[in-house]
């Protein structure tokens, strides 16, 4: 019955398509079923969250500027670290990638729109409600969540009434992500133009296909974990309460079974974007296309069998620790293949260094540094020293900030002229890059030293021996934070003020279906399937034979 309804809706949605945009503001944005408008909504939402989460990071770095407590109480500090992580992970990085998926996937595979346009509208419009609910907890009497984004019990169960709001907002984010992923998979599997075989898809589409499967596999796991927390807190169950026969460590197993694939959910689309950009500006096809696809798939597979490397200190049996150590070390192999392939793509290319390429190169270098500290953390024995220190903070910020976030910026600078039909200020974009690239290292590199010297993470105040590097890190943080205002400025200028029109191809070396459309592209990307041939396909398995 309901399946029949869905069919009818799909039919309506299709027949509704005309080649002009809805006139009213509400019709255009609130009720939109258009993949580009929804993509824009996702990206604007994510940028807003990026700034809110960034503001929280500024509070954290300001308090850590010197030893002693100058600005906030420790409990508020813990709320800031918790909310910063939740907002950045679920509000900034994940929705940004869904925004890119919405904009680019139909254009890259030669489809008119996403397969399920109404569900697409839903999966976006759930998000603002989820985050208003989450952020509102900061204004409640009991304060926001303060147990870290990992929500480990029993500490998270000490949270006040706001806890229920946190759990429900996580549920809503989960539903939004799952619906978004279902849409991505349905679109990629069913809506490709004739001739766009799986092994001719751009890597960004490939990485998103794999990411979407990861999301569908693990978001329900997170939902299950927080539901059990909720019943433990309010309904007297004891899933994670030792006194009632439960086990607090069980939560960590379930959480990280979600959590490790989750970190790849944030980085795999980044791999995809970088794999699009480097060939364009090297004017040379991607090296080892098939190997890149297989490497992505292996990383996704491995992500399901390494979760307990986040838990080497909880007291696992030796054999368990050995298994998770070996499995984690193995991830270095496919990740290495990716880095080597990017370098080989540049090798003997004809490179230019426009802003997208600068960010992509920054990504390759700094992500590799983060990957290497990841390999160090995989060594279970030494992890008994590294674990829960600033070394870990440095590691995951290297893979997330100059990793995922740089890739997001690279992608924005790459496709912004396509989206808007106007060129942005390359000069300011380059200033943005250099300021960000230098300050992000000043911000996070000294944190390696802090961690090795013995500073635990998630502390609001520290011993004076850690003072110097914390101050440097904070100064880097302030510069990095301010530099992002340039990013906002460049985008706003491009959308509203720029008078320099961009042509369809935009970049000299760009290949792929999206560049065969005008800039900005028509409201319904491909109403008739495009011809797939060697001049319109960016990558293909055939290229590597």
């Amino acid at each position: 019955m309901s399946s029949k309804n869905m069919h009818d809706h799909a039919v309506d949605a299709h027949e509704d398509h005309h080649d002009h945009k809805p006139a009213g503001f509400l019709d255009r944005w609130l009720f939109t079923t258009n993949h580009k408008d929804i993509g824009t909504l996702y990206l604007v939402f994510s940028l807003t969250m990026f700034l809110i989460g960034g503001l929280m990071a500024m509070v954290i770095r300001a308090e850590l500027f010197m030893p002693g407590l100058q600005l906030v109480e420790p409990d508020f500090f813990n709320q800031m670290t918790t909310m910063h992580a939740l907002v950045m992970v679920f509000g900034a990085v994940m929705p940004a990638w869904v925004g890119f998926a919405n904009w680019m996937i139909p254009m890259m595979i030669g489809a008119p729109d996403m397969a399920l346009p109404r569900m697409n509208n839903w999966s976006f419009w759930i998000l603002p409600f989820a985050f208003v609910m989450l952020l509102s907890t900061l204004f409640m009497e009991s304060g926001g969540p303060a147990a870290g984004w990992t929500l480990y019990p029993p500490l998270s169960l000490q949270g006040g009434q706001s806890f229920a709001f946190v759990v429900f907002s996580v549920h809503m984010m989960g539903i939004s992500s799952i619906m978004g992923s279902i849409n991505v998979i349905s679109t990629i599997l069913n809506m490709r133009a004739p001739g766009m075989t799986l092994l001719r898809m751009p890597l960004f589409v490939w990485t998103w296909l794999i990411t979407a499967f990861l999301l569908i596999a693990v978001m329900p796991v997170l939902a299950g974990a927080v539901t059990m927390l909720l019943t433990d807190h309010f309904f007297g169950t004891s899933f994670f309460n030792a006194a009632g026969g439960g086990d607090p460590i069980m939560f960590q197993h379930i959480f990280w079974f979600f959590g490790h694939p989750e970190v790849y959910i944030m980085i795999l689309p980044a791999f995809g974007v970088v794999s699009e950009i480097i060939p364009t500006f090297s004017r040379k096809p991607l090296f080892g296309y098939a190997a890149m696809v297989y490497a992505t798939a292996s990383i996704a597979f491995l992500s399901f069998i390494v979760w307990a490397h986040h838990m080497f200190t909880v007291g696992m049996p030796l054999t368990g620790e050995l298994f998770f150590m070996y499995a984690t070390m193995l991830i270095a192999v496919p990740t290495g293949v990716k880095v080597f392939n990017w370098v080989s793509t540049m090798w003997h290319g004809s490179m230019t260094f426009e802003p997208p390429m600068l960010f992509a190169i920054g990504f390759v270098v700094l992500f590799t540094i983060g990957g290497m500290s990841g390999l160090m953390l995989a060594i279970a024995s030494v992890d008994l020293q590294y674990h829960d220190t600033y070394f870990v903070v440095a590691h995951f910020h290297y893979v997330l900030v100059p990793g995922s976030v740089f890739a997001l910026m690279a992608g924005t600078y790459y496709w912004l002229p396509k989206w808007t039909g106007r060129m942005y200020s390359e000069r300011w974009a380059k200033i943005h890059f250099w300021l960000s690239a230098v300050s992000v290292n000043v911000l996070f590199f000294p944190q390696h030293y802090l961690g090795l010297a013995g500073m635990p993470r998630r502390i609001p105040d520290y011993s004076v021996q850690f003072a110097d590097f914390n101050m440097i890190s904070s100064m880097g943080g302030f510069v990095f934070g301010l530099s992002q205002l340039i990013f906002v400025g460049v985008i706003v200028h491009c959308v509203y003020k720029s008078r320099q029109a961009a042509d369809g191809r935009v970049w000299e070396g760009a290949k792929g279906l999206e560049w065969t459309l005008s800039s900005p592209p028509p409201y319904h990307s491909f109403n008739t399937p495009p011809a797939i041939n060697s001049s319109t396909v960016a990558h293909a398995d055939e290229y590597s034979h």
């Binding site: 030893p67 420790p74 009497e141 009991s142 303060a146 147990a147 480990y152 500490l155 000490q158 607090p248 460590i249 090297s282 004017r283 991607l286 296309y289 098939a290 200190t313 007291g315 030796l318 620790e321 150590m325 193995l330 192999v333 080597f340 392939n341 370098v343 080989s344 540049m346 090798w347 003997h348 290319g349 004809s350 490179m351 230019t352 260094f353 270098v365 590799t368 290497m372 160090m376 060594i379 024995s381 030494v382 008994l384 020293q385 829960d388 220190t389 380059k430 250099w434 030293y449 090795l452 010297a453 635990p456 998630r458 502390i459 105040d461 520290y462 011993s463 004076v464 110097d468 290229y543």
Partner: protein, 386 residues
């Protein structure tokens, strides 16, 4: 041509900034700050240090190779230099090579990593056992063979300086945030087993010089072991987020040569016997108030604040509170057994009867509570034992 120059200049500036940054700040002689993992004072910590350095250097070498290839390419294979793009798209040979070499490197790393992990986890026959219990936000140590036990909290001087707007410069406090009122004392060259658990939430017991940390999980007991080779004072902290004062529950471990350790044990036992006598006698109000103030400052003021005003909403005020000015027995019950679902702990298992009696008397008479009630250690003992 101009664009190309800008790029080279920008690259050079970045390189220079990084180099200056590295030289000035990473040179330990200049800043006095440690930048690397400690070698520590146990076999485990030394093994971990060596393993850390091996993996670090392997990563550095790989990084230098990969990044050099990339920067050579960036400098030489630029369009502005007129470089034409090559056409190659893959090389099966190269791809096999750079899959297999990393596997070999990983195997080389895995051998010492496995050996070291076995040393960490497989405890030898140990000579003494310490039970460590994490509380929000202090550690309890029990010497199971010697019948000694005590609570170790953040030292009062650090505790005063770390308050928001305290006006005290942390640099003037010795071992700011890394000092405690009672140290864990251990003998050197002795194999010690630790049984680690927690009472309320997760904690993690970590002294970097021992080379490992181990989570303290309520309801479960984790094991770890050590054998300290050098006498000295070693400092660490709780490493698992455990609530608002997670940053303020340090660990100080003093390693003594076995003979001195023996003396320390007998002194501790004498003090224990003395405390038992103290708990039997009747105290005067003044004695209880003086002792109570010091107990309150270390144990209670963290949440209820030194002026008894509390921290809304989680930590209620004691000044004028219904509990602190109400019936004595109920007040004692709350302090002994804690309040479920709040951060108020069961202090009965942490403090001695004399400490409890003093703190109770103090809170019933300070902050304008003036009940005039006097709680004796004997009264506490009677209620504790039902």
């Amino acid at each position: 041509m101009k664009k190309q120059n800008t790029f080279i200049v920008a690259l050079a500036v970045t390189a220079a900034v990084c180099a200056v940054f590295w030289l000035i700040l990473a040179a330990p002689g200049y800043s006095g700050n440690a930048i690397n993992m400690t070698r520590g004072v146990t076999r485990q910590s030394l093994l971990n240090y060596e393993l850390h350095m091996i993996v670090l250097w392997i990563c550095v070498v790989i990084g230098v190779l990969v990044f050099s290839a990339m920067f050579v390419s960036i400098v030489l294979h630029r369009k502005s230099r007129g470089h034409q793009a090559a056409k190659f798209t893959h090389s099966t040979k190269a791809e096999i090579v750079w899959s297999i070499i990393p596997v070999l490197i990983l195997v080389v790393m895995a051998v010492p990593a496995t050996r070291s992990l076995i040393v960490m986890e497989v405890a030898p026959e140990t000579e003494m056992t310490i039970k460590i219990t994490g509380f929000q936000w202090r550690w309890k140590y029990e010497y199971l063979e010697d019948d000694i036990q005590f609570i170790s909290s953040l030292a009062a001087e650090s505790n005063a300086a770390r308050m928001l707007h305290s006006g005290i410069d942390p640099a003037t406090v010795d071992n700011y945030l890394l000092d405690v009122d009672r140290r864990l004392v251990l003998p050197t060259n002795t194999k010690v087993k630790f049984l680690i658990t927690a009472d309320d939430v997760l904690h993690s017991w970590w002294v970097p010089s021992l080379g490992w940390k181990r989570d303290a999980v309520p309801g479960f007991i984790n094991e770890a072991w050590t054998e300290i080779t050098q006498p000295g004072v070693y400092r660490g902290q709780c490493a698992e987020l455990c609530g608002k004062d997670h940053g303020f529950m340090p660990i100080v471990l003093e390693a003594l040569p076995p003979v001195e350790y023996g003396q320390w044990v007998s002194q501790k036992r004498r003090e224990g016997a003395q405390a038992e006598i103290e708990a039997q006698r009747l105290w005067t109000l003044q004695e209880l108030m003086i002792h109570g103030q010091s107990v309150y400052a270390v144990q209670c003021a963290t949440c209820h604040q030194s002026d008894g005003s509390g921290l809304a909403p989680a930590f209620p005020a004691l000044a004028g509170s219904a509990v602190a000015t109400g019936p004595v027995d109920e007040h004692i019950d709350v302090v002994l057994n804690g309040r479920d679902g709040t951060a108020m702990q069961a202090w009965g298992k942490m403090l001695s009867d004399s400490d409890l009696a003093a703190a109770l008397t103090y809170t019933r008479n300070a902050f304008g509570n003036n009940t005039g009630d006097l709680v004796q250690p004997q009264t506490v003992a009677r209620i504790k034992n039902g």
